[in-house]
Subunit: 291 residues, 4 copies
Amino acid sequence: MLDVQAYADARGVALARAGVRDVQMPFRLLQKDGRAQTVAARVSMTTRLAPEVKGAHMSRFIIQLAEWSRLHTLSLNFNAMLQETMMRLEAPAAALDLSFPYFIDKKAPVTDHSAPMAYRCSFHAHLNCANPDAPEFQLILGLTVPIATLCPCSKAISDYGAHNQRAEIRLLSVMQTTDNGPQTLNGAHHPGEDHPMVWIEDLVSALESCASCPVYPVLKREDEKYVTERQYDNPKFVEDVARDAILLLRDLPGVAGFALEVEALESIHGHNAWAGHEEGFSPLGLRPAFP
Amino acid sequence: MLDVQAYADARGVALARAGVRDVQMPFRLLQKDGRAQTVAARVSMTTRLAPEVKGAHMSRFIIQLAEWSRLHTLSLNFNAMLQETMMRLEAPAAALDLSFPYFIDKKAPVTDHSAPMAYRCSFHAHLNCANPDAPEFQLILGLTVPIATLCPCSKAISDYGAHNQRAEIRLLSVMQTTDNGPQTLNGAHHPGEDHPMVWIEDLVSALESCASCPVYPVLKREDEKYVTERQYDNPKFVEDVARDAILLLRDLPGVAGFALEVEALESIHGHNAWAGHEEGFSPLGLRPAFP
Amino acid sequence: MLDVQAYADARGVALARAGVRDVQMPFRLLQKDGRAQTVAARVSMTTRLAPEVKGAHMSRFIIQLAEWSRLHTLSLNFNAMLQETMMRLEAPAAALDLSFPYFIDKKAPVTDHSAPMAYRCSFHAHLNCANPDAPEFQLILGLTVPIATLCPCSKAISDYGAHNQRAEIRLLSVMQTTDNGPQTLNGAHHPGEDHPMVWIEDLVSALESCASCPVYPVLKREDEKYVTERQYDNPKFVEDVARDAILLLRDLPGVAGFALEVEALESIHGHNAWAGHEEGFSPLGLRPAFP
Amino acid sequence: MLDVQAYADARGVALARAGVRDVQMPFRLLQKDGRAQTVAARVSMTTRLAPEVKGAHMSRFIIQLAEWSRLHTLSLNFNAMLQETMMRLEAPAAALDLSFPYFIDKKAPVTDHSAPMAYRCSFHAHLNCANPDAPEFQLILGLTVPIATLCPCSKAISDYGAHNQRAEIRLLSVMQTTDNGPQTLNGAHHPGEDHPMVWIEDLVSALESCASCPVYPVLKREDEKYVTERQYDNPKFVEDVARDAILLLRDLPGVAGFALEVEALESIHGHNAWAGHEEGFSPLGLRPAFP
């Protein structure tokens, strides 16, 4: 049977990425508490296409993804996963993007009632071995955290009340990696490694501390009173939230760079207030979107 | 050339609707001020398929839509438009769904600064001539109005402040039609007709009056102070907004029935508060979605 | 602390539904093979609001959902779940909507390579005890199945080839329920019950049999040849797929009524071909959307 | 009345962008034929925020957008528009993002039946005067073109037929600008300027030439036969489409760099095939998304 993908290509054009996209697949992921969570992920998996090759063998991506879905718990092993992809596809570079809702149990601030709360998350892993002597590996973590903001201007100029609204902090965070490659995100500490751990659970808490107030899945009246007054005592523009998050991320161990945006669904407008910023954010491959 | 759509079908199954969907097309629409607005619509157009016919001639829908896009201003003439569809497709019934952003200039409450504001709207027209002696025509208008709600509970239990948020009122409104068919929505008054006019512009204002406060495209500080205090003086659950809208719609001339929902993007939660209701809402054909 | 939701309401307007929407929560669901699958669901939960009560106690929904997320495997027990909701909220009727991606392992047609494939699914349960002597319970299952269609007209008129495309069959199926209430969908057979079982896994297969060809997660070249030729040998309009599905659903044990649509992402147009139909489809409460 | 936005900020953090997002506004745009088209745009408008300023005066963006919506035809004047934004907001840099459906009349290949067809488009303009002696201006045009692809592998290995599907080419194209700033996109030729014109209409045609076949709004049977056979005669992987588009864009006058992706809604899978590439693509500010 003919293998058209393996045909020679005369155009002499290398492609940064060719592969599959919008694949849905369940994956087990390590939680901070050491247990595994199965997430329903949307996946993109690609390899660099050398100029002389006509096409990627797309079925090999799905076969590998299905095997890893069954056999592995992510996320300490994206480097190994992409090395396998490069071998299966006979390609010099490979990339993987996973996005998924990640559930974290969250307690009400006063009554301690708790419920799972979903955070949109993503991993973007890129391995480039075009130069075998200097392989490059990069892992980016994406995270969206819903929060509340209360408007400082509205509070200052009004005799009573202040408009507030749901907002989102969205982050793409370049993770520090060690020389031997394994990233350190939501993963067990490897013996002998001294690089910092970064957990989604901790990033959520850190970003929530930049808000007028976090949002919660369950709030009884005692909690609602607390949250209302906490918002009012702590007014913030989207610019304030972004600046506090920037200061926090600059000093966060394990974070080598970031892109950040804060968007508030203004309760006085039909449009949104928005602030965006980047520092040390140089994706190895094509740039990922916020989750 | 073979005409496969015209083949006989042996299964004996009539289909309620067959046609085109997700067609994008510009249409001119009559505004309340008598001028025309060109809207960028997403369109679905279908006919009933008799059991003995294999398929609809889909290109005829697009040809008619393109002609009406060029030649006509809607919306007094949906009945005529669907009569033409029935003839072109040789079908006993036809339906049309248009959804589009509709722009209305909106002034700030104190300073009078104005800007266009977009409202998601839809028309759902259905003409059934299966019984030629008793043709049925129905027009449903869909409308989504963004508003603000301020929580009565939060205000009552907190020492200061009250959580508020952007919310949406969504309406599907069955329009009264006269015996001779022409609907009366965003259209000029026909000589000799005595049925009431219903304008999108007026429906927006009516629904906004059910909110804690409307939302606006431009607010200077004087306006923001007004809006903040207005929200605080006028706390409403989604249930309150829904009930006030129901009372209003029951008495609105030109409205023969409705489905309604109110959804608030709670500023203290990651999920929404929601209320829904229907009265006298019996779509002739398949039920439309809120715009 | 004041309980504003419990205040009296003077407007005299009952609301069909008030509650929470767009809640994200993991739930365990029984598979046909007897094992449980954890799905990432979007949830709406509501109760009817009596005219004399001002508002629903929204936190009670989340508390119950979180308990059921932790403690129960769905879906034989929606009736019991809603009875509990009615008691917690002191309401005469309650409704629950869950939508989620459901993974089913799917084998390639020739090589037997398999991978998980996601199907958008939903449950819509409604319990109405307004008349305690005649409680009404209804369960609707929603399911979207991606398929391929190959155009009979294109094949008939062209010297070679035929355009084909991805399409979707979308179903809302009213499930038969027994006198004592428990529905029979993706659930174990209760001793003494003789009503038919309906499994998502079987509904997927049944609907796929109406297509020109199913779609698959993994296809090696032998499989791709099979699928290509199978499509070409089996041309179908969206109208054909809809009619075959209607005939199938009319006779499917356990299905009491249905709404159905088939939409093809035409490879020759930027818009879609579409067919829709309903039989015996009378939702007890507000009508659910296709998943 | 207090002006909280003008307060001093002690954190010392400059923000790349602060402003409004998801604003909906109609804008007139110059077509290639010299006439104006009113588009329904979603708009983001931002300025750089100096470290010593607390917040942006968000209402000023909306006021300017509303004025330009009423008074101007775009798109030769984005530089002037952003200079005005910088003055109104007293900021050293400003950016504007517009995305909208743009209608182009498109004829069937054989019968010449024509209808409007919508293309998702976007403009991303950035003006940075932080260094007054060396102002930087950049304009990026975004464009998504739906096409058809027919699989070369499927055709080669099958006895008859070949799977094909709708696909999309998505482009972000950095436009060449002259020293004095005015971009040259969908705009009249300025006297004395000798830089090339780039029209959306021409970019659409150019990208369509890279497909197995374009898609059309109206196709009669003669056209459908032509399109079916044209697809079959011209098989292309997403990699082939991407490579042909790259070769084309490298030589296109007026294009200084680009990001490109091709995504096919495979008719044999539930997921997509995808290829992506960038050359000379260095956005001045935060990177725009494909429209």
